[in-house]
């Protein structure tokens, strides 16, 4: 229908349209890549840690006087914690998921220095570990009290038993169902045998940015460190009330240590993903702003184009063109420019994504982001041009007779 005349008219003033198409193309390249990163970060943030985050908090006890009997102190602390009304269970351990600092070791299915291993996070716990973290044991059994040992400071031998996450079991034994590896032996420290006692569904490692974050192992050992971390799980709704109470209780139980760094798991999650959450907000803001700027640019140029062609529009109206025909003309013009823009934008966006994936180790974008962004920018273009195009339809046919 009007395709031919519209295109021929545009060719008369190419540069303006080329600029708009370019602007749409670069906008789309940014938009697509921003959305891809937002999607990826949102997915990372949504991964479960596997523990009962809402009801868990932790705090550290740091002994500063020499000659304190750590074993007695930890045993008494744990007894006091577990007997506090409102507390479901408590343990002394080295770290918690999402905290950022922890202990990692390598596990292998055969002993020997030359054998490749798989990295895993280590949590030192006792028989209350599963209950305190609120873990889901899907196969095998928990530790028995007699299997939990105190470490020997002069020795680096490891306890001969462990509970693995499903992901860790699948990494070590890729061809077997996790439930079937209970009872098997793996090796830590190159040649210390560890028998798999049980499998837990999910428990993240302390490092949320690690690509093996699903791999963790519970070890039935207690350690006499100056620095001791208590993890406390409370009944739902009691956490905030118990926190200051428990901090005070531990602080007054002994003058030979300080109690510090008390934090809920909710705060820990927030801190762990602060960077991702901030990036998502920044990119959302940038994309919105960019779309507005491009939209306004289209409005500005369309208005200009309408005012420049007032007489031409008047002439067309005088020769019998209806108002919808005038509206269609400008909408079609914008549609053509947008098409060239989003077409180029699709190529640019994919190229930029390929480069960013390569340069920054990002996950490649999902295929549907490109068509969705194309549709969105088409829509923005049509909305932006609607105002000036409507004004064009209001040009009276009589304009044609004036200045000539």
């Amino acid at each position: 229908m009007e395709f031919g005349p519209v295109l021929r008219a545009m060719m008369h003033n190419r540069s303006g349209y080329v600029l708009i198409a370019l602007q749409i193309a670069v906008t789309m390249a940014i938009m697509v890549n921003a959305i891809a990163i937002i999607q990826e970060r949102t997915r990372l943030m949504a991964r479960p840690s596997g523990i009962d985050e809402d009801n868990i908090f932790y705090l550290s006890s740091l002994v500063f006087q020499p000659d304190v009997d750590q074993r007695v102190m930890i045993d008494e602390d744990l007894e006091a914690l577990r007997n506090t009304p409102g507390v479901v269970d408590a343990i002394s351990t080295n770290s918690v998921p999402l905290r950022g600092g922890g202990w990692s070791m390598s596990l292998q299915t055969e002993p020997g220095a030359e054998v490749d291993g798989s990295g895993t996070a280590i949590y030192f716990v006792d028989e209350h570990g599963i209950d305190t973290f609120g873990l889901n044991l899907i196969a095998g059994r928990n530790f028995r009290p007699e299997e939990v040992v105190w470490n020997d400071p002069q020795s680096n031998r490891w306890p001969p038993a462990g509970i693995l996450t499903r992901a860790l079991a699948e990494t070590l034994f890729p061809d077997e169902a996790p439930a079937d590896v209970v009872g098997r032996t793996v090796y830590i420290n190159q040649d210390n045998p560890v028998q798999i006692l049980g499998i837990i569904d999910v428990m993240q490692a302390p490092w949320s940015g690690w690509n093996g974050v699903e791999r963790s192992m519970l070890v039935p050992e207690r350690r006499e460190w100056d620095y001791n971390r208590y993890v406390v799980r409370t009944e739902p709704g009691s956490r905030d009330r118990l926190m200051p109470q428990i901090e005070e209780m531990l602080a007054t139980r002994s003058q030979e240590r300080i109690v510090m760094d008390m934090r809920t798991m909710n705060e820990t999650r927030k801190l762990s993903y602060l960077d991702d959450a901030a990036l998502v907000k920044i990119l959302t803001f940038i994309t919105t702003l960019l779309t507005i700027i491009t939209g306004l640019g289209i409005v500005g140029l369309a208005s200009f184009s309408v005012s420049r062609r007032t007489k031409q529009i008047g002439t067309r109206r005088a020769l019998g063109a209806s108002r919808p025909a005038i509206l269609r003309y400008f909408m079609l013009e914008n549609f053509l420019v947008s098409s060239v823009g989003v077409g180029g934008g699709a190529i640019l966006a994919v190229a930029l994504n390929i480069w960013m994936v390569e340069a920054f180790d990002l996950a490649p974008m999902r295929w549907y982001v490109v068509p969705v962004a194309m549709l969105a920018l088409w829509l923005v273009g049509q909305l932006a041009v609607a105002g000036p195009a409507r004004r064009a339809t209001l040009v009276p046919p009589a304009v044609a007779t004036r200045t000539v």
Binding site: L274, A278, I282, T294, F304, A359
Partner: protein, 440 residues
């Protein structure tokens, strides 16, 4: 003539207020987005010790596993050294200065009655640390080599700790209690916070400087394990602390001071010879792969500039491109709308150069306005970033604008506006004197 063009420009801006405002806003927002990221990037990649960054070298020895490189991708050696190598290189004293250090946590017990003990971040290091890194002192100074050798319990405090414990007085010679041991104060450090924290980026390149410094020999003697990273590729044999010291675990940072290429080469040769001699003892199973980077090379190798910032830098630069394309389009529209004016001026005798000057001045004015507002936008952007990262103390150090960044912002804005004006101005100059007059 210039003033006349200024007047014309102002007039033109006033006759098209919405179009002009749109252009100024586009430039300002583009500059604001771009400069926010550029500022963070500029601080993250700054030189933390400009006077000496060419003379300080980070020692990396490849003492890692024969079967598995420390870094699979780059084959860079570990970014820390073993106790065995640290002490051997300290004793050899082949460089002008050599410093080994690692992070420790301590509990400080204030002397005042009823004051509660509190945790301080500490660094165990050799006495050369302070002279080597140009650490400024308010009172006293570091300790001498004799204190290192004799394992004397001395301490250097940060200004903050001195304020807290001694009320800011000159505390040199007084004693403080940490974990039950008494230490004599030899000096108090003035505010000193190199950004990035180049001398130990292993636990965060933008963390604060430690609050107390104690001799390396004392820390080893007291069996203080590091509170930073400890990495081992081999099981630590039984035997407690002594076995750990003799293990292949890396957990301390080593720096040397060298002046000029010859000294660098001599020290590199020394390191290679040292590794060769250790190979004879059965250590260092990998091929010789030592590094001796200066401060800037070291920070680049350790990627202290976060990927997030680099991604945002790319996107922000493209953002500015969109804003500029927008400005070019609008300027072009403006010029074409005034074809008749230009044509008339040309017909009345204005040269092409005069028309060119007129539009360049106008674009410059828009750029200047965009730049000034852009500085405000940058400030808003940095405040926003600070708000998003409120829980991370160190981010405050990364969102500060200095005069270099302000000037850069304004210059970038003017350059962008002039760049954007080139094509529309060229179109204006090409308008034929008589072409548009007919239609008037």
């Amino acid at each position: 003539m210039f003033r006349y063009y200024l007047k014309l420009g102002a007039l033109s801006i006033r006759t098209n207020p919405i179009l002009s405002a749109l252009m100024v806003a586009a430039i300002a927002i583009g500059i604001g987005a771009c400069m926010t990221v550029v500022t963070v990037h500029y601080i993250m990649s700054g030189d933390p010790i400009p006077n000496k960054s060419e003379q300080l070298f980070f020692v990396q020895l490849d003492s890692w596993d024969a079967f598995d490189p420390y870094d699979d991708e780059t084959n860079e050696p570990p970014d820390q050294v073993t106790y065995l190598d640290a002490t051997a290189l300290l004793d050899a004293a082949e460089a002008r200065r050599q410093v080994v250090s690692y992070r420790v946590g301590r509990i400080l017990q204030p002397p005042a009655d009823g004051a509660r003990p509190f945790e301080v971040s500490g660094r165990a290091t050799s006495g050369d640390f302070f002279a080597m890194f140009d650490v400024p002192f308010v009172f006293g100074g570091g300790w001498d080599r004799a204190s290192d050798d004799n394992g004397e319990q001395v301490v250097v405090l940060s200004r903050r700790i001195n304020d807290r414990v001694f009320g800011g007085e000159d505390s040199v010679g007084r004693r403080i209690l940490m974990n039950g041991d008494s230490y004599r104060v030899t000096g108090v450090i003035d505010d000193w916070n190199p950004v990035p924290k180049f001398y130990d980026e292993t636990t965060g390149a933008f963390n604060d400087t430690e609050e107390v410094f104690v001799p390396f020999s004392v820390a080893i003697d007291k069996e203080l394990s590091g509170s930073g990273n400890t990495n081992c590729w081999q099981p630590v044999p039984d035997g407690g602390w002594q076995a750990f010291l003799n293990s292949e675990c890396v957990w301390m940072q080593m720096w040397v001071e060298l002046h000029g290429e010859t000294e660098w080469q001599a020290y590199m040769d020394f390191l290679n010879a040292y590794v060769a001699s250790q190979k004879e003892l059965g250590r260092f199973p990998r091929p010789v792969n030592n590094r001796l980077y200066n401060v800037k090379e070291h920070l680049a190798a350790q990627n202290v500039v976060e990927d997030t910032v680099q991604i945002l830098l790319v996107l922000a630069a493209l953002f500015l491109v969109v804003c500029l394309l927008n400005t070019i389009g609008l300027l072009l529209a403006k010029v074409l709308r005034r074809s008749a004016d230009i044509s008339l001026r040309r017909a009345l005798g204005a040269s092409k150069r005069a028309v060119f000057a007129q539009y360049v001045v106008e674009a410059g004015m828009i750029g200047l306005a965009g730049g000034i507002i852009g500085v405000g936008m940058t400030w808003l952007g940095l405040t926003g970033v600070k708000g998003l990262y409120a829980e991370m103390e160190f981010v405050k150090k990364l969102v500060q604008m200095d005069w270099i960044m302000v000037t850069t912002a304004v210059c970038l804005a003017i350059a962008s506006a002039l760049g954007a004006a080139l094509y529309p101005t060229w179109r204006a100059v090409r308008i034929h004197p008589a072409s548009e007059l007919k239609t008037l």
